[in-house]
């Protein structure tokens, strides 16, 4: 009888006391988590990334493209004497919606753009492997035409629409693929296409916590026009350096224009002929609304 009791006791006691370790309860099921900081800046070299300033954040970007290595570059202090400049001001209306204006000195182009992070890469339940961001811009050429013809305002306009696919593979590597359409209201002759199709490939690789290598390369559909003008595929390689509220992007590219239609679909410089340019983008953010 006694033995039976003890055996029973042995049986039952673990049931009572061996409650699972209370710390096991700490393990949580991961909530939905959006990928952050896929890229450091809102642009890679020239091409837009999926990033936007946060809600209520005003971003100011100042960018330079210096003179080419082909033209007396020592005399021109590595091209620094022939700088082209772009200024851009953009604002995050929400964490996903961004609008901005810019002005580039190549052909005195003024532009405005709108960017929307339609789909964001996430992990956890129902993960999404990529981010899809939409970007559209309207660009107005301010420079006078030299052909002696009166040009309507519409002639000076061009448009750019882009879908930006990005993926942050891990904390170091992120890639970008952006097909886009550039529409020119004015082309040299009736036979030339008004719309050109482009695709940009880009990547960044982080070397340290605050520094990354970047690169981009674009394919374009129409390289020559009936008036004899020929255009090349744009590319650029660079370094991103981040210091608090600034992002410095230093790069080498074969482009000088900085508003999208011009550098993307009408870039006339070729690296093989010395058409290589040093340049930088510097961004500064200001929180206007918490």
């Amino acid at each position: 009888m006694k033995y039976l009791a003890i055996t029973l006791c042995l049986f039952i006691s673990p049931l009572g006391f061996a409650q699972d370790d209370v710390f096991d309860l700490l393990e949580v099921t991961q909530n939905k988590k959006y990928a952050y900081a896929t890229f450091k800046g809102t642009q890679l070299v020239n091409s837009a990334t999926n990033e936007t300033p946060g809600a209520g954040v005003l971003q100011y970007i100042i960018a330079h493209r210096f003179g080419s290595f082909g033209e007396d570059y020592l005399y021109n202090f590595l091209g620094l004497d022939n700088a082209q400049i772009r200024m851009q001001l953009d604002y995050g209306i929400t964490d996903r919606l961004n609008i901005g204006i810019g002005r580039s000195s190549v052909l005195k182009v003024v532009d405005s753009f709108i960017k929307f992070r339609a789909i964001r890469q996430s992990s956890g339940p129902n993960p999404i492997p990529i981010s899809i961001t939409l970007l559209s811009s309207a660009n107005y050429r301010g420079e006078r035409y030299a052909d002696g013809i009166d040009h309507l305002i519409a002639d000076r306009l061009s448009y750019h629409h882009q879908v930006i696919f990005t993926r942050k593979w891990n904390s170091k590597l992120s890639t970008l693929f952006s097909p886009s359409l550039v529409h020119w209201n004015l082309v040299p002759s009736v036979g030339d296409p008004n719309s050109t199709y482009n695709a940009t490939l880009g990547a960044r690789y982080k070397l340290t916590k605050r520094m990354a290598l970047t690169g981009e390369y674009s394919l374009i559909s129409n390289k020559s026009y009936s008036d004899g003008s020929a255009f090349t595929v744009p590319f650029g390689v660079g370094v991103d350096v981040e210091t608090g509220g600034h992002v410095f992007q230093f790069h080498l590219s074969n482009t000088r224009g900085m508003s999208t239609p011009y550098w993307l679909s009408r870039n006339s410089y070729s690296a093989l002929n010395g058409g290589l340019f040093l340049g930088f983008n510097i961004s500064r953010v200001f929180t206007l609304r918490d």
């Binding site: 049931l15 009572g16 006391f17 409650q19 900081a37 809600a55 954040v57 608090g244």
Partner: protein, 169 residues
Amino acid sequence: MKIFALLFISLLFSTCVSAQQFLTREGGLAFDAGSPLEDIIAETKSATAVYDAQSGKIGFQVLMTSFNFKRALMQEHFNENYVESEKYPKASFKGFYKDGFTKGELTMHGVTKSIRVPAVLTEVKNGIRFKSTFKVSLSDYNVSVPKAVSNKIDPYATITVNCMMKKRP
């Protein structure tokens, strides 16, 4: 017969024990590493906290990316450059509560250290509220602060825990 009585009592007692666990997955946790030059404040309302009244065991866990900052860029820097959330996704504490103190191991940014901090545990309806405020040294947990911003960041972050744990069924 005596032994059966004992057994019966122990059975009663044991069910009573397992009912004394408290849990929340919506615990409040905040930290402040700011300075007169810059506000650096973040909070989360999704920390997990557990307490076992029988053993005194108490534990917390929080996902680093769940901390909300007012400024998106600051939040990005926090995750990317300071606590490296991709590499070290969570911070946890496992220890014991006794007589107004919690004592145990705090793990953060891949470093585990023993800490002992004052805490208040109060019984409320259907649960227990845990409150504690303490400081942790950033350098103790290998969180490096660049010289350029060292005057903006308090090397000792103040952590505030405020968790309302519900009795587990």
